[in-house]
């Protein structure tokens, strides 16, 4: 079993908040994603059991949402917003500079497994463009110096 007792208990508690157990599926996927860094085939099968679903039904949900992944990613995730308000203020130039600096393209993970660089659609910080999200924190009013220093400082 890949899902531990603690996470199973937490999922059972979450399920009591919804009129139907399946309502807790997205919250459960967030828990698994946070603990394991992705939703593996084993986790998918075990979640299916917990929710009375078939594994492919769980996979269909996982694959729909950008924040859930079926493959392991870096220890940290950074996403530069490249939607229009940020792009007007240089976000795509910033992303290209960060790609060069890290030696990876958007969507790829550094060789040491430290960081996955990505691009994001609008993250709702348009007045502070350009911006990026690193794990759970937004960094605003960026330029290359600021952004690369933030990424270089990650463990």
């Amino acid at each position: 079993m890949i899902l531990g007792d603690a996470i199973r208990a937490e999922i059972d508690e979450l399920a009591t908040r919804y009129p139907e157990r399946r309502g807790a599926l997205l919250p459960a996927l967030h828990l698994v994603e946070r603990e394991h860094g992705h939703i593996s085939p084993d986790a998918t099968r075990e979640l299916a059991d917990l929710f009375g679903l078939r594994p492919n039904e769980v996979l269909a949900v996982v694959s729909f949402y950008e924040m859930f992944g079926t493959e392991p990613r870096g220890r940290h995730r950074a996403g530069v917003c490249t939607n229009l308000p940020c792009s007007l203020r240089g976000a795509r130039t910033l992303l290209a500079q960060l790609e060069l600096h890290l030696g990876v393209r958007a969507g790829e993970t550094t060789d040491d497994g430290r960081l996955t660089l990505g691009r994001e659609e609008c993250l709702g910080a348009c007045a502070a463009a350009p911006m990026m999200r690193v794990d759970e924190v937004d960094h605003e009013h960026l330029d290359f110096e600021k952004a690369s220093a933030i990424l270089d400082g990650l463990e």
Binding site: P19, H30, F64, L84, P85, G124, C126, A127
Partner: protein
């Protein structure tokens, strides 16, 4: 945090700059929850009538009358019914609900209590987009405080009305801010929009009657209950009363959030409040309501920011996000970003949308690179036309209208790319 404080405030965002306002103590010290107490003493029909007379329009995009949305709840019910708060804010250029969630969480809870009382909902599901970590934490804290003070769950208000709020976090899908897709997602499914009647009635979460309201709309309610219809109608226009939070981004000196009455002229917001275009440049165009609304060219910016006046110019208020572009901007690059967004975010359920959005993006990319032909522009127009009114939800319409708007007002930019076989706007932002 730069987005914590709006640049101009009104009744909605007053005190939002004060950290204590996000706490129960700070909120009640400013008179918070007195409207909820008043509402819970009222009859649902009285609240419904009050909000109907106030003319409060939904602030999430469609601008529908809130009272009419509430009236869609069946009067006879044989079980539980729900309120869903749409905090799925994902419209590019729009960032107002984030401020309310983070800085005025108790105001939202108070608004939820009022709406729940009016619609007879026993529970609220607050669906917050997954990327809003800070907003979700702020709401969790506030809900916990409101529970221990007895405003939610068992306690102070329970004798009259017991209500609780459950937070569900989205997981990164733009379409889940469309209300039927949101309901699917809430139920633990893929967030694909549902088939629906032309009217926004008859919504169901978990098979039970449900009302969906957005964050800002709910935040107006305590003020309407507290101060009444005449006071509320003293802001804004006859058809669009109240203030709203305009987000201004792109090429302006002072981007930010501005709480202003509906009907404030677009050029006043851009040139006076946001202090105009930097580097002494001129404006080229403004998208008035967020990325999926049609653009307005420099000559049409004297329009009042209210749905009745924007519709005359084939634009919409949407979620009130103004994206400003200066004269250096290549509108074909803008089209690339917009169509790329729609291609990425199409849920894929309807063929016209899934295939159409891909076609739009491929065609504008070809034009931007200078390898497009006049025929490509004609195909672009044709594909956009064939996407209109053909899909289950409004997403395909938005994709089509935003490209049509660019073609309507900036056709020269597209033609120049074909003629010169390259992008003629060397100084434009980079793709």
């Amino acid at each position: 945090m730069t987005l914590s404080i709006p640049n101009t405030t009104g009744y909605l965002t007053e005190h939002c700059g004060d950290d204590a306002f996000a706490t129960l103590k700070g909120y009640t010290a400013r008179g918070g929850y007195s409207a909820a107490r008043k509402a819970l003493r009222s009859k649902p029909a009285e609240l419904l009538e009050l909000v109907e007379r106030s003319g409060l329009q939904s602030r999430g995009g469609m601008g529908l009358p809130t009272g009419a949305k509430w009236r869609c709840m069946p009067s006879e019910r044989d079980g539980p019914s729900y309120l869903v708060c749409n905090a799925g804010e994902s419209e590019p250029g729009s960032f107002k609900d984030r401020l309310l969630l983070e800085r005025a969480p108790h105001k939202l809870i108070e608004g939820i209590l009022i709406a729940a009382k009016a619609t007879g909902a026993e529970k609220t599901f607050l669906y917050i987009r997954g990327e809003y970590f800070r907003a979700a934490r702020a709401m969790e804290r506030a809900i916990e405080e409101a529970r221990s003070a007895g405003y939610l769950g068992k306690g102070r208000l329970r004798r009259r009305f017991a209500h609780d709020i459950v937070i569900t976090r989205g997981a990164g899908a733009y379409i889940c801010s469309e209300e039927t897709a949101l309901l699917e997602s809430l139920e633990g499914k893929r967030g694909e929009p549902r088939n629906r009647l032309p009217l926004p009635g008859g919504l169901h979460a978990f098979g039970r009657p449900t009302t969906v309201n957005d964050v800002e709309t709910l935040c107006h309610l305590p003020h309407i209950v507290e101060h009444g219809v005449d006071w509320f109608r003293s802001f804004g226009t006859e058809q669009s009363p109240g203030t709203t939070l305009f987000g201004v981004s792109g090429h302006v000196v002072q981007p930010g959030l501005y709480e202003l009455p509906l009907g404030t002229p677009l050029d006043e917001i851009v040139f006076e409040y946001a202090r105009g275009i930097p580097h002494g440049r001129r404006v080229k165009g403004v998208i008035p309501g967020g990325l999926s609304m049609a653009i307005l060219p420099a000559g049409q910016l004297n329009v009042p920011m209210a749905n009745e006046s924007l519709r005359e110019r084939k634009a919409m208020l949407g979620a009130g996000g103004l994206i400003v572009m200066d004269e250096t901007t290549c509108m074909v690059r803008v089209a690339c970003i917009i169509s790329g967004f729609f291609r990425h975010e199409s849920c894929g359920r309807c063929t016209q949308c899934r295939e159409g959005a891909g076609w739009l993006h491929k065609l504008v990319q070809r034009l931007e690179r200078g390898t497009g032909t006049r025929k490509d522009i004609a195909i672009l127009e044709d594909v956009a036309r064939k996407m209109e009114g053909q899909a289950i939800c409004g997403f395909a319409d938005s994709a089509a209208w935003s490209i049509q708007g660019l073609l309507r007002h900036f056709r020269d930019d597209f033609d120049a790319h074909v003629r010169q076989r390259q992008c003629p706007f060397a100084g434009s932002f980079e793709l």
